[in-house]
Symmetry: C2
């Protein structure tokens, strides 16, 4: 199969990471880069190992083709790490994990003064969802992932959201409730030390990982499971104890993401396959919950029903 | 200093663990046991290594003396583990941890059918606070501990509390908010796998431990800290990574608790010292928040202001 050509829009920091992933992914190639400035695009191509044949454009539009039958996939890299599939196996095993009862997710990082003044994520006319749209989006994705993408019945933002003077969220928390009684909470913030926690508790088992968006190391990632946890006699210790599992990967998660995307695009382009619907469905559900949390905050911390 | 004599009220399972701790604690001795039944008391004394000289009573009243100037301390064993002091050092070091921003605590365990039908913790006329008064109490204590026992401004129970047919709480979650903007959430349940998580996030650092009430092992306990966490170039890993710290203890935490209690009682009894006020203050503040969560649930998940 011929490699899939990628066009990159914009020269943001993250585009450098994704460009490297496209280079690392065997079925994918860097084809074009567009920026509002031709010079920035040319410099980005040079700095990020684009082939000499790559197209350089001074606009986004020049890169884009819009047509039906395209594959949509948001760039949620951790969804593609083999650890994620291993953890899902654990959650789906009813004898190990049982029925999902609660999830907690936390994604925070501490920004500097320059970020608080100038980053697009704190500007009401740019990425107006602030910490909720950035790190909170990942928390919500992790919760939906744990809940097999079943939407919660309702969402409630928790009092104490921190907004900047323009009204953009710098930190917030929210809770979710499902029809069957399971619940989740998350906390997201630009104002606290970098933390990426997910804890998932079921009737039989518990799953934890502390580096959910970006694993601590590139070539392997760990998670903790506990099954039918109990105590020793006299409650002086645990029996059994939680156990740690490590999953290795030859390619970083972002290259696995690119590779999977290219595989799907190749199937459409060369084999007449239909686009894989689960990816845009995941995106849409995540955004629905993000929007419900924002609505809850805007309404003074009211409960917001979620409907698909 | 003469050892401090302990009288035990009731023959519950936990009394066996505490009796062992009193035996292990060098400045403490088992002196009396009272039960509603003399036979149960005598059997308990025999099974738990009481000295032959121990008094056996067929009532609670026979054991009790009530007078002023007594030391009150709730039996929250983990407060006395040397790990707890080490973690507190970390939280109090502003260059390592910074300012507290958020706490999440989770304490759940999976009970059986017999517990759900017969345990005093699910009976409205016995321990009517259910999972909130049992495991939720520990979650609240851990949150207050992280917040240096500053009471939250308000408490909100989260929708989705599970009640039994008699109205006793089997699972619930709540959020708390402080005057200075810090926030906390917790989840407690009798209906999910045994889990004991505390995560504390500050401006500079993060603290985690997964066995907060009962350490995984009796003679040592660990915790994870992260300070000024960041990423490698291209965000392919973390630099620095969190680090694990292990604290050993010669005596189990419950014996350290008994020993500290005996030390305080001995000071009062033999040296004319005043009772240490921090212990009843901790108890009272914990109960205030427990009660606020209960009120929030009873009022249909309304925000409840907390006042001391």
């Amino acid at each position: 199969m011929a490699p899939i050509n990628f066009g990159i829009l914009g020269c943001a920091f993250i585009a450098g990471k994704v460009s490297r992933a496209i280079t690392l992914s065997p079925n994918s190639t860097l084809y074009a880069i567009g920026s509002r400035s031709y010079e920035k695009a040319a410099k980005f191509a040079k700095d990020n190992g684009f082939p000499d044949s790559a197209k350089i454009y001074g606009s986004y539009d020049a890169v884009l083709m819009t047509r039906s039958g395209v594959q949509i996939m948001d760039a949620t890299m951790w969804m593609h790490h083999p650890r994620t599939a291993k953890m899902k196996e654990f959650l789906l095993d009813s004898s190990l994990f049982g029925e999902l009862k609660s999830v907690h997710s936390c994604f925070t990082f501490a920004v500097d003064k320059n970020f608080l003044e100038n980053d697009i994520r704190v500007k009401p006319d740019l990425d107006a969802l602030g910490a909720l749209g950035d790190v909170g989006w990942y928390c919500i994705r992790s919760i939906l992932w744990a809940a097999d993408f079943e939407l919660p019945k309702s969402v409630l933002a928790l009092r104490g959201a921190v907004l900047n003077s323009a009204g953009v969220i710098l930190a917030c928390s929210a809770s979710m409730q499902w029809e069957d009684g399971k619940t989740a909470t998350f906390h997201c913030s630009f104002l606290a030390n970098l933390t990426m926690d997910v804890s998932v508790v079921g009737t039989n088992g518990t799953l934890r990982f502390h580096d959910f968006v970006v694993p601590f190391e590139e070539n392997k990632a760990s998670f903790l499971t506990a099954v039918k946890s109990g105590f020793t006699e006299l409650v002086t210790g645990w029996e059994p104890k939680p156990s740690e599992h490590t999953v290795s990967t030859d390619l970083p998660q972002e290259a696995l993401m690119v590779s999977e995307f290219s595989r799907l695009v190749g199937s459409i382009k060369f084999d007449g396959a239909k686009p894989e619907k689960k990816w845009p469905t995941f995106s849409r559900k995540t955004q629905l919950v993000v929007d419900a949390v924002k609505t809850s905050i805007d309404r003074g911390y009211e409960v917001v029903e979620v409907s698909s």
